[in-house]
Symmetry: C2
Subunit: 243 residues, 2 copies
């Protein structure tokens, strides 16, 4: 059970709490202080965690080095980067790439833009599928059981505009399938909307989605659709898709 505890300890670190003291790690994992102390010390000895001058722990470079070998990073994120950068350059807006994981999307990359709307996601962030453009795209092309799993639970409302009615989400999924893109308007925050499109691999399966996230200020989001879809298709080709 040490392996599970090691992963629990590593999992104690979050976007909101990327650096933690020993006591806090013990609290978050439910492990006794002594046990936590031992495991944390061993992880630090191995480079998976670093301890700062302030006594707090952070994820270490060694773990990062190993983790970037994940296919999501190498086969997906790296190959997508040139297209994300292209879209970033021509639109001057935030650009993101995400994959589906259960009922959430995980952001593999997010390129922010200086004058663009400030957004909550970053590399490694998770957000619920129903409330994001990339999430709706991924769900639209997920197996039916995944859709059912997502819609079986109450959907979280982030803004007055967040669509939480399963029937309306289903309708949005149908629309995504037929149109090939999603416009997700003020679902997470009142100030931003995103335009998302699917990324396919060589077998035609949708393995990721990418989006541009812009200020919800009245600008017609449809103007971004061609560029987003083109970039998504470019990534798909880089992944070996043939259409």
């Amino acid at each position: 059970m040490v392996t599970a505890r090691v992963l629990d300890v590593l999992g104690a670190f979050t976007e909101a709490a990327p650096e933690l003291g020993l006591t806090e790690i013990a609290r978050r994992t439910g492990l006794p202080l002594t046990t936590t102390h031992r495991i944390v010390g061993e992880l630090a000895a191995g480079g998976a965690l670093d301890r700062g001058d302030d006594g707090r722990y952070r994820v270490g470079l060694r773990l990062w080095e190993i983790a970037v070998l994940a296919p999501a990073s190498t086969m997906l994120r790296e190959r997508a980067m040139p297209f994300l950068e292209d879209l970033h350059e021509v639109t001057r807006e935030n650009v993101a790439l995400a994959v589906l994981d259960g009922a959430e999307v995980v952001y593999l990359e997010r390129l922010s833009a200086r004058d663009a709307v400030s957004i909550v996601s970053r590399s490694g962030s998770r957000l619920p599928v129903h409330a994001t453009g990339v999430g709706l795209v991924l769900l639209a092309h997920a197996p039916p059981d995944v859709v059912e799993q997502v819609l079986a639970r109450p959907l979280r409302r982030f803004t007055p505009h967040t669509v939480c009615d399963p029937a309306r989400v289903r309708a949005a999924l149908g629309e995504a399938r037929s149109s090939g893109f999603v416009i997700s308007d003020r679902q997470i925050e009142d100030v931003s909307l995103s335009v998302a499109a699917p990324v396919r691999d060589r077998s035609g399966r949708v393995v990721a989605a990418m989006s541009v996230v812009v200020r919800a200020d009245g600008t017609n989001p449809h103007t971004y659709v061609p560029a987003v879809r083109a970039a998504a298709r470019g990534i798909s080709r880089a992944l070996g898709a043939t259409t």
Copy 2:
């Protein structure tokens, strides 16, 4: 000792071998097959590894999510990205960001360019400090004991141009300190050279280096120096440096 073994198993994955079968993991770690099987299974259960349809293991998304919380990723790479992208855009060349780790540099980010020279490094890659522009910059500003540690061992030669003579490396370090940049010419491969500059944090310490990597085709590399230094200074300011 399980923690160390867990890290050994994860460390079996490399840039050259990002996906491995059970037997190969056991071989690389020196662990008995049964032990490896158990640890790998536990890591897969926790999402740190994924097992493909082909029976081989890869680093899992969950580990990646945790690992991107490393300060190198959040405090350094993310803050550097806008400046890396700027330099990438204006030069149309490969751009990289790296940190020092022992006698090697670890690349935090590498933006490749379509028509640029193909280079060997990518995110997570390691290369020896003496043979890279970013490495010489980092070494130039490292504590003296680090310099001694690096120069105490034979330096690896990659091309006929690789500088392996400690005296010449010391001279290069001195030059880097006084000029504020490094031009590393055909040290790793015969076809490329890099121009690198230091990135400082709020205390003035050099915590990273960035570079542009271009084709060694006679173009005067000095033309890139102002832009690289400007981008490095921009990153430094983003990290709180005051000069």
